[in-house]
């Protein structure tokens, strides 16, 4: 009957997932949490945008003034502006020339705001979905679901509803940023706006899906939503720390190699610490805006890998646990 054929079995699971996905999405939209978080996040982004915009304006003005007193022409001013831009880009993203070329038409404010919002996106994801499973296991409402759906369907349905919400929210925020940029920089052409909007949106999505599944994993581990939220933040911090330490160790290691001739001995922890950064999802964020498909795909694959590992972990936990 039902169990004898593999295919109807899988189809059943798919249907369950779809039903849970749409129901959870409707509930989330109505619950208001998503809206409140969206409001907060847009306010935060707007604030960053204003501050960065103002700072950039100030710096530009100061540089222009100095150049004027030095008696330089408009050409020099533009050149200095371009140099500054490159410096900031190199600091923010990478000094890859192809990437700089590709992003040359995007206003600097957009890049800065994008970078900063990307940094906080994981926290936002955690706040949105920390109780997706723990909030149902704790009060045991999960028990109403598991008699009618497989645990895997519940997990996947919840994950997909969170992912969909995020897709929408990131699109709204990115759109707002680009609309602002277009108004503030009349030189930012419409075609460029659209292409870059899609590019930035895609990058943010690939980036955040790994964090959505991390939040799903954290939510599957505990009965108490508060504990899963705290644990989620701890993990985010640990990932950030691994990335930062790894990069610092790499810099130190490169420096050490340069001065190798004079060095007395190899720093003992350095080779190991360098590799820490590869274990942190944020390490792979750099190439998400890369114009070359291969570079973008490699970054994307890293994020897909993280997402997969976290989701499988969440399933293993949920499958094995008492509800």
């Amino acid at each position: 009957m039902r169990n004898s054929a593999r295919f109807p079995h899988t189809l059943d699971g798919l249907k369950e997932t779809l039903v849970i996905w749409s129901a959870e999405l409707r509930r989330a939209v109505r619950s208001g949490r998503a809206v409140v978080l969206l409001g907060l996040y847009s306010m935060f982004s707007a604030l960053v945008l204003l501050v960065v915009g103002w700072l950039a304006g100030q710096v530009r003005e100061a540089v222009n003034k100095q150049l004027e007193t030095a008696g330089a022409g408009a050409d020099a001013s533009a050149q200095v502006g371009e140099e500054m831009r490159k410096g900031v880009l190199g600091f923010l993203l990478s000094d890859d020339s192809a990437m700089m070329e590709a992003l040359s038409r995007v206003p600097l404010e957009v890049l800065v705001v994008f970078k900063i919002t990307l940094f906080f996106l994981p926290a936002y994801v955690a706040l949105m979905g920390f109780d997706q499973l723990s909030g149902e296991v704790g009060p045991r409402s999960m028990r109403y679901l598991t008699v009618r759906a497989r645990r895997s369907s519940v997990l996947l349905g919840k994950f997909l509803s969170q992912a969909t919400l995020l897709l929408g929210l990131v699109l709204i925020i990115d759109m707002a940023i680009f609309v602002y940029a277009r108004i503030a920089n009349p030189g930012f052409g419409f075609a460029d706006v659209v292409i870059n909007l899609i590019k930035f949106w895609l990058a943010a999505i690939v980036f955040s899906l790994a964090y959505v599944s991390l939040t799903t994993l954290c939510s599957s581990l505990f009965r108490s939503p508060a504990v899963s939220l705290v644990f989620n933040f701890i993990l985010l911090f640990v990932f950030w720390l691994m990335d930062t330490i790894g990069r610092a160790a790499q810099t130190a290691y490169s420096a050490y190699q340069v001065v190798d001739a004079y060095a007395v001995g190899e720093p003992s922890m350095m080779p190991f610490l360098r590799f820490l950064r590869y274990l942190s999802p944020s390490y792979y964020a750099g190439n998400l805006l890369h114009p070359k498909l291969a570079e973008f795909a490699a970054s994307g694959a890293a994020y897909a890998g993280f997402a997969m590992v976290f989701l499988l972990g969440a399933y293993a936990v949920l499958r094995a646990r008492d509800l």
Binding site: R2, H9, K15, Y144, T146, V147, R148, A149, R150
Partner: protein, 303 residues
């Protein structure tokens, strides 16, 4: 397909050092109403939870509707469950929630199923009420309603009448009787032993996680093995009654109750008639005759 809806083979469940259920074996025949009896903490809810696949047994195996309840998706469409202490998820209107769950159960007409189930438990007025705004009794009935949707062949109800007012509790009992008529198998737990005696064909008595006794209701209450005669006036000749055919024991319980035990395999009506005839012949006036023992008395005797 086996005649048994549920089978437990040496099932134990431990929570850390705490043994909640210890080596319980029992079986529930299809089409019967089966009671789970026991004081608080006896392990009823834990047993229910293992039958529904919420908890995995530490030892032993279960078969529910011929499958292991731990198998993903195996019980879908075959089992309706009212879990104890499971909160209805907030942020839903009751009707929408039940419709969603009916759809998840892959029922053909989800909204109609939800409506009918709510009507059965007399809760149609809550269709548009948010779940978190339901009173305790209403939430319990809404939870009961979701277990009824789709008329699953097996329904597990953990304390369905606890905390309900008497009128609603009677309505719930009526629903359970209706399920029995529809040949659904029902497993129900309750503190109200009178209620279980009225509803159940068979029951298991749990105490401190162990199975104290299991059997049909008439086995448990000794319907075929003893009866009591309430005496109004007159002298009862105990030795004479005790020596009558098919009587194994006769004695007075207190001033005015004669208890008679019957030999196994004998039709009780024959012995009862002979004993009553004997009493009347000797000028004893009788107030009443009752067969067996109240379930409540039996349980109190056991625990």
């Amino acid at each position: 397909m086996s005649d048994l809806a549920i089978e437990l083979f040496g099932v134990s469940k431990r929570f850390g050092p705490k043994v909640a259920v210890s080596n319980v074996s029992l079986s529930v025949p299809r089409g019967s109403v089966f009671g789970l009896i026991g004081p608080n903490g006896a392990g009823k809810t834990t047993t229910f939870s293992m039958m529904c696949g919420y908890l995995y047994p530490t030892e032993g195996t279960l078969k529910v509707m011929d499958v292991d309840p731990a198998t993903p998706g195996a019980l879908k469409g075959r089992l309706g469950a009212l879990p104890q202490d499971a909160v209805l998820p907030p942020g839903w209107e009751t009707g929408a929630l039940l419709t969603y769950w009916a759809r998840l159960s892959a029922l053909a007409e989800p909204e109609r199923e939800a409506r009918e189930a709510l009507e059965q438990v007399g809760l149609m007025e809550a269709w548009n009420v948010q779940t978190q705004a339901l009173s305790h009794g209403m939430a319990k009935r809404a939870a009961m309603a979701q277990a009824l949707m789709g008329r699953p062949p097996l329904v597990l109800l953990d304390e369905p009448t606890a905390g309900l007012d008497p009128r609603i509790a009677a309505q719930v009992r009526q629903v359970i009787k209706g399920m029995k008529e529809a040949r659904q198998t029902v497993v129900v737990s309750s503190h109200n032993l009178q209620e279980l005696e009225e509803l159940c064909d068979a029951a298991a008595i749990l105490d401190k996680g162990k199975l104290a006794q299991a059997g049909t209701m008439s086995e448990l209450t000794g319907q075929g093995s003893e009866f009591r005669v309430q005496i109004a006036r007159g002298d009862v000749l105990i030795p004479e009654i005790a020596s009558m055919a098919d009587v194994t024991d006769a004695r007075m319980e207190g001033e005015s109750v004669l208890r008679v035990r019957i030999k196994g395999g004998v039709k009780p009506e024959e012995v009862i008639s002979r004993v009553v005839g004997h009493l009347l012949q000797h000028g004893v006036l009788i107030l009443g005759v009752s067969r067996g023992q109240r379930l409540e008395d039996r349980v109190l005797q056991l625990l």
